[in-house]
Symmetry: C2
Subunit: 277 residues, 2 copies
C-alpha cells in the first residue's frame, strides 16, 4: 500500500483511525467463548462494526502468542479476513521486533510474506542492519519506534547524545532517514507525549506517524493533530482497549462502533480544520 493510497482512504473515510485488536479471552463477551475460535470471532465482529470508520487495524502479537499455535491461527485468520473482505485497510503487525540481520530477515518474512501484513513495528536498539531487512519488501511499511506511549519511555529514549546534541529518539529518526524513505517507513510517536511531536516532525515532515496512547492511556487527539498533522494527514491514530472493550455484553459491537464513530467524528473535524477534506 502506498502513502497516496493511505491518504485517499483517509479522505474517503474522513478518518485516520487505527483499531487495535489487543484481543484477550478474559475480556471478550462470554457468549463468544463457546465458538470454535473465540478470538477470531471477536475480531471479525469488531472489524465488521468499524471498518468504514477505520483506515487500519493493528494486531499486537503478544495477545496471540500467549495462546501458542491456536493464537497464531486466530491471527492468521484475522489477517486473511481483513485482506479478503477489506483490502483497502492497512494491516499492522505490532511486533516491536529488533534482532540481528539474519533473524530480522526471518521476522520480515514471517509478518510480510507468511502472515501477509502491510506493516510491522520495529525497535531500533540494534541499529541499521536490524531494520534494513524489513525495508526490502516492496509496498510494505516498517514502523520504527521513536517515542513510545508508556510511562518510562524517557529512561533511554530521552538520553541526551553528547555528540549530536539530540535526544536519542531524534537520532533514531535522523539516522533512519538514510535507511528508508517516507514511502516505506513510519515512526511510532506516543500520543501521551505531544511535546515531542515537533522534534519528530522537524526531522521527518513527510512521514506517516503511528500514534498509540489515545483513549485508555490518556493521550489527546486534539494535541496530536495540532503537533503532528501534515499536508496528507501523516497520522494514523490507534485506539485499542477504548474501542474493543467499550462493552462486554451482547451489545459489544454497537458500543465499539459508537466509540470508533466518536473518534472518527473528532478526526473529521480536525481534517477539515486542516483543509484536508
Amino acid at each position: 500500500m502506498t502513502a497516496q493510497e493511505l491518504f485517499e482512504q483517509i479522505k474517503k473515510k474522513r478518518s485516520f483511525l487505527c483499531v487495535g485488536l489487543d484481543t484477550e479471552l478474559t475480556k471478550i463477551p462470554e457468549h463468544l467463548l463457546t465458538k470454535d475460535d473465540p478470538m477470531f470471532e471477536f475480531n471479525r465482529k469488531i472489524i465488521e462494526a468499524t471498518h468504514d470508520l477505520a483506515i487500519a487495524y493493528k494486531l499486537n502479537l503478544a495477545f496471540y502468542e500467549v495462546h501458542g499455535a491456536a493464537g497464531w491461527n486466530s491471527l492468521v485468520k484475522t489477517v486473511k479476513y481483513l485482506k479478503t473482505h477489506h483490502p483497502d485497510v492497512l494491516v499492522i503487525a505490532d511486533a516491536k521486533r529488533g534482532d540481528i540481520a539474519n533473524t530480522a530477515r526471518m521476522y520480515a518474512k514471517a509478518y510480510f510474506h507468511s502472515l501477509g501484513c502491510d506493516a510491522v513495528t520495529v525497535s531500533p536498539y540494534l541499529g541499521q542492519d536490524s531494520v534494513v531487512p524489513y525495508l526490502q519488501y516492496d509496498g510494505k511499511w516498517t514502523i520504527l519506534l521513536a517515542i513510545t506511549s508508556n510511562e518510562s519511555f524517557g529512561d533511554f529514549q530521552l538520553v541526551h547524545n553528547k555528540q549530536t546534541g539530540n535526544l536519542l529518539f531524534e537520532d533514531v529518526v535522523l539516522k533512519s532517514m538514510h535507511w528508508g524513505s517516507d514511502a516505506n517507513m513510519m515512526f511510532v510517536v506516543g500520543a501521551t507525549h505531544p511535546e515531542y511531536f515537533a522534534a519528530v516532525r522537524k526531522h521527518a515532515p513527510h512521514h506517516f506517524l503511528l500514534v498509540p496512547g489515545v483513549g485508555e492511556q490518556g493521550g489527546s487527539l486534539q494535541k496530536v493533530a495540532e503537533n503532528g498533522m501534515n499536508d496528507r494527514c501523516g497520522l494514523i491514530v490507534n485506539s485499542s482497549r477504548g474501542i474493543i472493550y467499550a462493552d462486554i455484553t451482547g451489545n459489544f459491537t454497537s458500543e465499539a462502533r459508537k466509540r470508533a464513530l466518536k473518534l472518527q467524528q473528532e478526526m473529521e473535524v480536525l481534517l477539515k480544520q486542516n483543509g484536508l477534506v
Copy 2:
C-alpha cells in the same frame, strides 16, 4: 533455575555452552523433511547429540514464527522435550521483545507460563515498565540486551549520554540494577565486541552474561573469558549456526557434537585457568 544451580551445572559439565536452535527448513538435512515435524526432529537430534556438553538451549523465535502455527507447535514440542528429558538445562526464548507494560505482561505469560521457558531476552528501548513484568516470575530470568553482536550495534548502543557520561548500554545496565538483581536478570553482551565487557562487568560484576557471536559471527571465546568471567563463571556463550549446521548430511549429529565438544573442551581449559573446576 537459580544462579547456583546454573553454576553447579557449569562445574559438572565443565562447560558454559548454549546451543542456539535457529532451525531453518532450508538448512536441515533433506531426509528429515519427510518427517511429520522436521524442525522438532532436527532439534531433538541436535539436543540428544549435545546435551551433556551444553548448559543451555536458546530458541530464536523468528525461526519458528516464520512457519506460523506449525512453527509454534515445533517450538512448544522442543521446549517440552527439553523440560522432560533434560530438566537441568536452561531454556531461553530468544525473543528480544520490548513493549508497554500491558503487552509485556502478555509476552511474559507467553514465554514463561504457556511455553515454559526459563529465560527470555528483552530489549530495553521502552525502559523500566516494559521490563518489570518479566521479573515477576519466580525462578525465571530476564536477559536484557546491552551490547548486541551485530555490525551496527553502535548506532544507538554507543550513544554518549551527556548527563551521565556513560555510553547508552552502560546506562541500560546501571538503571536496570534497580529493577531486578543478579538472581533474576542477565545481560546480552556480544562476543564480537570484547572491548565492552569491562564496562558491563564494572557495573554488573555478579550477573550472568549471555554471549552471542562466537563462531559464525567471529567472536573469540578466549577474549570473552578474559574479559567477562567471574567467580561463578558468569558466562553463557551461545553458538548456533556453527554447531547445528556443521554438516547437512546423515552425519549432522556427529558433526554437531564435534563442534560442541571442541567448544566445551576450550571452555574446560578456561574454567580450569580460572580455578572454577
